[in-house]
Assembly symmetry: C3
Homo-oligomer: 168 residues x 3
């Protein structure tokens, strides 16, 4: 199973190299989610931000400002998204017991409209807050089937995503 790479197994080519004044830009996307769990394809928005950033080469980080909404890259095939949602539910079902949902005991970060979302936090733990993608020739260099998703894990609402481009 462990397979040390050998020289005849890897072909390497330089895609770009650039030295110039650094550019850093950040755009915020305010997005209304409509389902949970829900996979929202935000690839076109990310590409637009990268194209207008003025960065030719570098990288873009798509960052969720939330602890119950994640960013992941995967394939935009509708049946697959249902499979992935089911896998998330199996890992941390919404109807399991979470101490975080025990409002009789909990004292930290309690709001008037607090809802039971322990499952959403536990699912988020395995998905993470961001993805980072190379920028090549002013474009987010995604592979053929790669799409960037905002994954809503809690109830639908407004979400804030930062699209941060660094390069030159």
């Amino acid at each position: 199973m462990l397979d040390q790479t050998s020289r005849d197994q890897v072909h390497r080519e330089t895609v770009f190299r650039r030295e110039a004044t650094a550019i850093a830009t950040c755009d915020a996307l305010e997005i209304e989610t409509k389902a949970a769990p829900g996979f929202l394809d935000i690839t076109d928005e990310v590409q637009a931000v990268v194209a207008e950033s003025g960065v030719t080469f570098g990288q873009v980080t798509i960052f969720s400002s939330h602890t119950t909404a994640a960013i992941r890259i995967n394939e935009a095939e509708p049946l697959l998204l249902r499979d992935m949602a089911r896998t998330l539910r199996q890992l941390a079902p919404s109807n399991a017991y979470y101490e975080h949902n025990d409002f009789g005991r909990r004292t930290v970060n309690m709001n008037d409209d607090e809802c039971a979302n322990g499952h959403a936090h536990c699912q988020h733990l395995f998905l993470a807050s961001s993805e980072t993608v190379p920028v090549i020739d002013g474009r987010c260099a995604l592979g053929l089937y790669q799409r960037v998703f905002l994954i809503e894990l809690d109830h639908p609402r407004m979400r804030r995503i930062l699209v941060n481009v660094v390069g030159c």
Copy 2:
């Protein structure tokens, strides 16, 4: 479940754009963990590094130098941290069988004080080694409930975390 974004669903605003000489800095945090599994909130240390880096805009990567200690962003609610620890244990229990712990068979990376930590590596696989966060106006741009955690998965010890800031 698949929801292609529509123009009326997304509001976009530019947060910053800066062109200047590149700055790259790195600080190392040597941190003593005290529990396992344990969630250590290192947000204030990360913010201090970013503030003193001289980077106004760009991004910060918080990177664990270890294969059994992870970096994740989530909410610092004490009961929730217990839920997340339980979810990790369910995914890869410490008392399950791991070939990595079979010291009669294993020959690679064996030390005198080797301990059975197959579960910690398998949990780490799903948590990853780093998080990357945008830097805006010299601050790590975390959302309201986002805190950066060093997650100790193996036994408590000294851990080395790199806080790497790149921008301008």
Copy 3:
């Protein structure tokens, strides 16, 4: 379990700080995988790209262009890799039901040689597409046991990995 860091628990040291013209480079590795699930150690290739990039300080992102092949950092101990593969299979077994594999219903992204790989996508969801590592003194600053793996989750084939270095 929650452990707020205290001042006497953390030692901090500055590793580097550099201001200079930005450099961004990207190399593509075309790699033939030979097993699935398979862990291919590509650390030496990544180190070679970083060494030749001309970047002294900054960071490197190792990015998989695929939705069924992931990048993760962990220990290169052969028995452990078998444990991690087993944990992945338990999370999303290849012989479970996936709607993505239901070619009678599916209409999106169908190719002539389409194979049943719903498990591979669901495993990928928890592993992610990239890792980002600090670059210090022209080297990828990995810890003692950290190795960078390309993880093949679907059937063996040619895979394209981008190694993207940004810094100065």
